[in-house]
Symmetry: C2
Subunit: 181 residues, 2 copies
Amino acid sequence: MSEPVPPPCFQNCVPPGDERERLVCGDCGWIHYVNPKVIVGAVVTSGGKFLLCRRAIEPRAGFWTMPAGFMEEGESAEHGAAREVWEEATARVRLDALLAVYSIPVISQVQLIYRGELTLPGFAPGLESLETRLFGWDEIPWNELAFPSVTWALQHFHAVRDQTAFAPFTAPVLFESRPGR
Amino acid sequence: MSEPVPPPCFQNCVPPGDERERLVCGDCGWIHYVNPKVIVGAVVTSGGKFLLCRRAIEPRAGFWTMPAGFMEEGESAEHGAAREVWEEATARVRLDALLAVYSIPVISQVQLIYRGELTLPGFAPGLESLETRLFGWDEIPWNELAFPSVTWALQHFHAVRDQTAFAPFTAPVLFESRPGR
């Protein structure tokens, strides 16, 4: 998921009207912008239990996660989150709130995590999952979660489980931000 | 801001474990992912008036906008929004809420628009602005706003001007989403 190695005609310089270095082609002046990626996902429940997926792929293969992945061109964030639930857990979901917006500058990600409920009882591992399962709150495998944001999202879900309108959560301060370059 | 023309070794194909076409290098197998970009910005007020910037650059040069622009690597969304306020209006802002998350699939953007207030009275046009000005609600140049999302954000701000905790707004349905490919 890293950017390509640019051809040798590219050099780092500050384009006119800009305030930071970009990779610019010395031949044609084309500017290669690199920007953060958006992760879309959902904490999904059914009958009060949490739908988690055991990852079949790296990073963190074998660990549990909520359905989430890279937002794609031509979709809304909500469509992307529902698509990820389908791709990773073969499940249909209705989203009802934006649970969290986690900025993680160190990996240049913005995670948009929704709250949702299964609309049909069925689910099964998709291509990127080894296993899909519903966990009660007390059964969640906290020590086997794939990423810190999975822990945050489950805890944030729990904190607003009885609320309908709320401001989305952000990442813990440690992860939230660092001064601009 | 468009992606580079890939070299001829790249071809469209569905990589193993994926479900959609990507540009893949036939020589080394490297996959060139293209994902939506994040716009960060803020509806900023001072003494109940709205800070708008008249754009010095295309698209929509000469029209009015809230400070907003592409999120950069290594910053949080909140830092990015405050940075845009500084770059476009040379103003310092304190953000207090996430006003809106506008998905605009047709241009593959997610706009994270915050609500903020000036912390110092001064402001002045940055490199990308011709003019910066405070407008009362009844003075806003509605017919000279640069983008639909500027109109949405100002109206959404107005709708929650007395609220502290609320769910962020989304784009009008017309713009919000289309079925996945």
